[in-house]
């Protein structure tokens, strides 16, 4: 226990020191100063508010568009995994399907069932949207692109993702429908339970980085896989999987999509919704995939870090090189996040839905004990590594090699799965 306490106090002392010089406020401030406008003038306040509104607008729209694109992507991927084609008629490869669907949903009648609590029923989708849009504040996109690098980033993210449960409960209760109510209560139970392993798993990178800021955690890692926190030690590796599973459960994604189990609950908490309000629920569901994947990428997979360029040297860059590498880091971050989003979709079409008791036993009997043990192990391991740094290198190398081995074996297994049935690889056919 004392090992953990030392490590935590060590981390806390460094939290105070981390600060990121590049935030949007400072950018606006710098621009204003360059024009000779002092921070104290009312014009500066106005510009600051306008800038914040602009950022909020961009962030919310990015979220909505990402969610829309995922809806298309998920259907295409799901279709191929089931040997189907999926939506492919609207635009190239059916890409504009999500726009067509959005337009359709916007034009539909907004029905409110008889006996529903009208105000709550109307407000519930906005609760969901707010909780979802707020997460984008502290999510990094690249080296400098982040709406606000909060000092309590990870904590804030955990808090606002749980806000979605308010919307779920409100929609389920106010619908005056037994299916909605069951769905929302399941969802609440699920989110509350899985908050614990998710939080404990996120504590591991927080311990390792010594900060709660998302950018700070990324900065504590490096560009190469062996510098990522996921390969830091076995407990961190376990923490990554625990976080991933818990985030799936919190986002009501398959195989934990009990709140919207079609065979039992029609569509769960959004059964009674139609039109635009219905589309908000789906926006949140798909957008959440980005949120959880981006957070996992940031805290476990090295975020936007470019291999061979450490964060301090990145900060020092100026001019074209800085902008170019900024874009590369953005692309790398997006690539890592998209791979995780793909894994989420892939899991959905692989695993059957869990029963409620299985869901609870997975959480309380498997994830919670392991996540607590993992946090303790990491605290101890940090002390061991401080005494013998060579062990750190050995462990990271071994785990990265293990990861590479697993991926190779998996690819070989998949290839043989294709060939064993006399088929061949064909990605381009039948689009």
């Amino acid at each position: 226990m004392s090992a953990a306490a030392t490590a935590i106090s060590l981390s806390l002392s460094t939290i105070a020191k981390t600060s990121n010089p590049r935030s949007p406020e400072q950018l606006v401030d710098g621009l204003l100063r360059a024009r000779g406008i002092e921070a104290s003038s009312p014009l500066s306040t106005l510009a600051m508010v306008a800038a914040l509104l602009a950022i909020a607008f961009i962030v919310v729209n990015c979220a909505a568009i990402a969610a829309g694109i995922f809806s298309w992507l998920e259907r295409r991927i799901a279709a191929r995994m089931q040997s189907r084609v999926g939506p492919n008629r609207v635009g190239p490869a059916g890409f504009f399907q999500w726009i067509a669907d959005a337009v359709k949903l916007l034009l539909k009648e907004d029905l409110i069932p008889e006996g529903a609590n009208v105000h709550l029923f109307r407000a519930a989708p906005y609760f969901m949207m707010v909780g979802f849009a707020c997460t984008f504040v502290a999510l990094p996109f690249s080296h400098a692109l982040i709406a606000a690098d909060l000092g309590v980033g990870v904590f804030y993210l955990l808090a606002v993702t749980a806000f979605v449960v308010v919307g779920v409960l409100a929609s389920g209760w106010s619908s005056n429908s037994k299916w909605s109510l069951f769905g929302s209560i399941r969802s609440a139970a699920q989110i509350v339970s899985y908050e614990i392993p998710a939080g404990m798993a996120l504590l591991v990178p927080v311990l390792l980085a010594g900060t709660l800021s998302t950018q700070g955690i990324i900065r504590a890692q490096g560009g190469w896989p062996w510098q990522w926190f996921v390969f830091h030690d076995p407990a961190a590796l376990a923490a990554f999987f625990i976080y991933f599973i818990s985030a799936l459960a919190e986002g009501n994604r398959a195989p934990f999509d009990l709140p919207e189990a079609e065979s039992e609950l029609v569509a769960g908490y959004n059964t009674e919704y139609s039109g635009m309000r219905f589309s908000y629920f789906f926006l949140v569901e798909w957008g959440n995939m980005w949120v959880m994947s981006a957070l996992a990428t940031s805290v476990f997979l090295g975020g936007w870090q470019l291999p061979g360029l450490d964060a301090a040297r990145f900060d020092a860059l100026t001019g074209g090189a800085a902008i170019g590498l900024e874009i590369v880091s953005l692309a790398l971050f997006a690539l890592k996040t998209m791979s995780l989003v793909f894994v989420i979709m892939w899991l959905r079409w692989t695993l059957p839905r869990l029963r409620v008791d299985q869901l609870m036993s997975l959480c309380w009997k498997y994830l919670v004990p392991v996540s607590f043990a993992g946090a303790l192990f990491v605290a101890g391991w940090m002390l061991v590594v401080r005494a013998a740094p060579v062990l750190d290198l050995l462990m990271r190398g071994a785990l990265t090699a293990l990861g590479a081995l697993v991926v190779t074996l998996f690819v070989r297994r998949t290839l043989s799965n294709v060939r064993d049935v006399g088929d061949r690889l064909d990605v381009r056919g039948n689009w």
């Binding site: 991927i77 279709a79 191929r80 995994m81 089931q82 040997s83 189907r84 084609v85 892939w346 899991l347 079409w349 692989t350 695993l351 036993s361 009997k365 498997y366 998996f410 297994r413 998949t414 290839l415 799965n417 294709v418 088929d423 061949r424 690889l425 064909d426 990605v427 056919g429 039948n430």
Partner: protein
């Protein structure tokens, strides 16, 4: 099916390893499907061959009658087990009007079961199955193929030449393709009852601007 509440550490570890193994296998299978070609046939427009060319040789599509070689013998009408074919004859004097003519030759494709019994007895091969099978109608009534378009202009019966064993026939499908094109027409109004204004047919309703 109640699981034991207490589990040994070995059982716990076995659960974890079994889940990992089934995940491994399951995800590998789904991924392998993703990299295979979907079996979907993208009918009708994205196919290696038009569907008509992939049909079996004796495919039984919509019926077609070549009125120029129909003898008005009504063998097909009698052969049909479910009264799909309707032929109305008028008799003439043989001098100013033909001796036998057809006022009506209707085949209700909505009712036809494509059994082919009507094709068998036809002496001239006038009634035939085409290879056409695609069509969408705005109303059920439109599905009736009317081979005599205008009852005021009856078709004279064909007199096969003596000893002939082959009869001239228009290329199969040409006539029926023209008739199918008319299926898109709006439905006729519902029959009028006394003292009521005629109601529009279902197809027209969908075009009424709000």
């Amino acid at each position: 099916m109640s699981e034991p509440t207490q589990k040994s550490l070995g059982g716990w570890a076995r659960d974890v390893s079994e889940s990992a193994r089934s995940l491994w296998e399951g995800m590998s299978v789904t991924l392998s499907y993703m990299f295979k070609k979907p079996i979907t046939t993208q009918y009708p427009d994205r196919m290696p061959l038009p569907v008509v060319h992939t049909l079996p040789t004796r495919y039984r599509g919509f019926l077609e009658v070549d009125m120029d070689t129909c003898t008005a013998c009504q063998a097909c009408e009698r052969a049909c087990p479910i009264d799909v074919i309707n032929i109305d004859l008028i008799r003439g004097d043989g001098v100013t009007t033909p001796k036998t003519a057809m006022e009506r030759f209707d085949i209700d494709i909505g009712k036809c079961m494509f059994c082919g019994l009507c094709v068998e007895p036809c002496p001239t091969g006038s009634i035939q199955h085409t290879r056409e099978f695609e069509g969408a109608a705005m109303a059920f009534d439109n599905l009736t193929l009317r081979f005599v378009p205008d009852p005021a202009k009856p078709y004279p019966a064909y007199k096969p030449p003596k000893g002939a064993d082959a009869y001239p026939r228009k290329p199969l499908g040409e006539i029926v393709r023209k008739l199918i094109r008319e299926w898109d027409a709006p439905a006729p109004a519902f029959p009028q009852r006394d003292g009521q204004t005629p109601r529009p047919g279902p197809a027209e309703v969908s075009h009424v601007p709000r």
